[in-house]
């Protein structure tokens, strides 16, 4: 057998993981003072070893081999880190449940009113199966089919592919353009979410007042939501052209100025944010109006009797009670802003000027769908996916603490 030269030997990786796991579990043991010292050390080492190898071993530790660049090795360490994050977290939860004498898997939450009976699982699986089957076959399997390409040099329609280890990822590590694409995705998404949600909340609160014509206002305000992002891009293109756009035409006639909306920085970025806000705000208004209806009026009434101002009522009662809706909207708006705006950007700015509106998902679209460069594109989308998973977990964590659950 041919001897493979490693920059970092797999055994070192495994041992490092095991060591880290053992240390972490020892720390947890010391912190909680629950369970056996020896068992936690052993389980920690095993979890660490699994974590360090679970993502790198399936690729044959290729990223640690002699012919790889230092970026490849770094990607390897990141994969080790991600694996550790996963196994150490799950491992510690499970182990300490065991130490505390709890069941290994949470017994489902103790929803009051759940059906009793021995066939709960069977019944639940039966009603869940349509959703699960469709997801497995039409979402998860295509996802795995696609992700396979992230370690390949692959082009759509090509007679062959080539395994290139983690090059698609390490390429991104050093690619300043890609970093700015990612940063831009964050910045634009942040802008879109903040503006679209706060405006929607303001508008929905006004709609919730007992005023005449609320139906008409509401219908008109939701209208743009019936437009797909690509078509929204076409409309805004007509509005915002420097010479051809109606907005500049009006500004020119009234104020004598023309704003180069789509071809200068930061005007182009602002334009993309505003067009996206316009496109998504109807959705937010819809949910906030529905949410406002659920706030018990007697709460507000008693607050007003206690002398709370309108603002205090909003800040202390309305907004906290709306938090499940806010939370839901933050998650869905994040997904819209990260994933669904590429069509709008394609039509409106082509990512320009000088790539100033080139978001990460737009890059995925350009590389994968327009240029058929599947390997790079799937690697990019995997990164994007991990980032949004991270954001969502973060939002859930924060949400867990902040969201108020009205028992009404």
């Amino acid at each position: 057998m041919e001897e493979i030269a490693y920059i970092v030997h797999p055994a070192v990786v495994t041992l490092a993981g095991a060591l880290l796991g053992a240390l972490y579990f020892a720390f947890l043991r010391w912190q909680t003072q629950v369970g056996s010292q020896r068992v936690s050390l052993i389980v920690g080492a095993i979890a660490g070893a699994i974590g360090a190898t679970m993502l790198t071993a399936p690729l044959g530790y290729c990223m640690f081999q002699g012919d790889q660049t230092s970026e490849d090795v770094m990607v390897g360490w990141i994969m080790v880190g991600l694996g550790l994050l996963l196994t150490l977290n799950i491992g510690s939860v499970v182990l300490w449940r065991y130490f505390r004498g709890q069941r290994l898997l949470p017994r489902g939450d103790t929803t009051p009113g759940a059906f009793r009976g021995r066939f709960g699982l069977v019944y639940a699986l039966a009603v869940l199966s349509p959703t699960i089957l469709v997801l497995v076959y039409f979402v998860y399997l295509p996802m795995f089919d696609t992700l396979r390409f992230s370690t390949f040099l692959a082009r759509f329609g090509a007679p062959r592919t080539r395994f290139i280890c983690v090059s698609n990822f390490s390429r991104m590590l050093g690619d300043l353009d890609y970093h700015s694409n990612l940063f831009l995705s964050f910045a634009l998404s942040f802008g879109i979410i903040i503006i679209a949600m706060s405006l929607a909340l303001l508008i929905a609160s006004m709609l919730n007042q007992p005023i005449r014509g609320a139906n008409v206002y509401r219908t008109l305000l939701i209208w743009p939501y019936a437009i797909s992002p690509i078509v929204a891009g076409s409309i805004f293109g007509l509005l915002l052209g420097t010479e051809s756009g109606i907005v500049n035409r009006v500004l020119d006639l009234t104020l004598g100025v023309k704003v180069p909306w789509l071809v200068t920085v930061p005007a182009a970025q602002i334009s993309v944010v505003l067009a996206s806000v316009w496109n998504v705000i109807g959705f937010n208004i819809l949910f906030y109006t529905a949410g406002l209806q659920t706030i018990p009026k007697d709460l507000l009434e008693s607050a007003s009797i206690d002398g709370a101002s309108a603002w205090q009522q909003f800040a202390r009662i309305t907004f906290p009670l709306l938090s499940p809706f806010t939370f839901f909207l933050i998650v869905t708006n994040t997904i819209y802003a990260f994933f669904d705006t590429f069509g709008l950007i394609f039509v409106l700015t082509r990512g320009g000027p000088t790539e100033s509106t080139f978001t990460a998902m737009y890059r995925v679209y350009v590389t994968g769908i327009l240029a058929s460069d599947i390997g790079k594109s799937t690697a990019q989308s995997l990164i994007l996916f991990l980032i949004v998973v991270g954001i969502t977990i973060f939002q859930f964590r924060v949400g867990q603490r902040r969201v108020q659950y009205g028992n009404y």
Partner: protein, 471 residues
Amino acid sequence: MLRRLVLFLILMTLATGAFSTALAQDVIELEAWVAFSDHRYDWAVDTADRFNALHDDINVTMVSVVDYDTIVNNYTLGREDGTYPEIVQLFDAALQFAVDSDWFSYAETIIDGRDEVLGHPVNFDDIIPVISNYYTVDGIWASVAWNTSTPIMYYNVELLEQAGIMELPLTWADILDACVALQPLVDDGTISACATWPFSGWFIEQWLAQQNEYMVNNENGRAGRATEFNLDTDAYRAIAQFYRDLYSNGYFIFEGQDQWGPPTQTFISGKTAIMMSSSAAARAISEGAAATGFTLETTPMAYNQDAPSGWVGNILGGATMWISNGLDQAVEDAAMAFLLFFSNTENSASWHTASGYVPVRNSSIELLKNLEPGNEILWDIPSGGRVDIEAADWYAAFPNFLTASTQLGDSTVNNATRGSTYGTFQQSRPYYNGLVEEYMLNGGDLDAMIAETNAELTELLQEYNFLFADE
């Protein structure tokens, strides 16, 4: 009794079924995918119907697939599961892909020396050389030209005259001079700027060809498979500098990469005096200019007067019709016959009138110069049918439609003007166009930018070659 009736009915159904299948087998069904969905699609359907009327045993169906990229993607997918058409329209940038995929029968191979196919004459010599040469692969004529265009200049004559410019600009220097002369009109608010046009990578390709320069090595990929990008040239630098000069002096309105609508709109509304666009827009721009009320004149695409080679020629743009391989001889012939009909003298002339795409045949140009009543050539967009051209000489009546044909007809045929062919064409366009954009807007170290982009594009190209080239 009832049983017999049922039996009888079943037999009848089977018999008619068999009979109609037998009938259907006699008709050769051809599907053609095209990227258009507007009046150009209507024209294609109408022409296919005319062909079907000539042949009882052939039925051509036109399917619109929205855009060029989708056609390539869908055809590739269709190849996997057998849902691909007999005829497909592929754009210029997909030429290398079409060659590498091994999915198509070349026209010249199908024709195999015959001088007619199913009664439709073959006459290659009639096709304008720079057009037939674009689609010649390894010396074999591969696909049948359909929509062919080339960039030309459009001028608002009244505005130029107002600025005292009596001769239409022909070179980059002429344009810059004209812009200096037009500046008073900008200052007094008559117009917004001297010039605008779509900021498209296609123009960069054209200007390289004009200066006798290659985009990629191995003579644009025509002498052998291209392996490296060739951006580090004076010709490319000159293009970037020309844009920089135009923009930094405020002569040029930039509306974003590949935005075709806004510049056209600006020019037609009389806000700029100079515009450059595809000849395919000739009809739309002529109609717009007439509605706004100014005189439109066109010239060939402006060229770099300082290029050592002088003006060499332009490349065509557009798309051609390819025939899928692996078809039965009869089906292949039917497809070939249809494409010969589709691009014959009358149809090519009619197609030209529908938009401004150049007629691919010299005989079509002759025909349009010597028209007789009852010619039924002009495509009437609102009614979606052909009507007579009333003038005896189309080009005398609409001289702006001749410019593109002249430009292509005068072009020297060499490997610069045949255009580049390489696998990452579509992927590379935003790079070399974006570089010029960045230099135009922000300036900077052009040499360093070129070196970086050239290396990136070469790497992409080599990746493509690794996956597609024969080992």
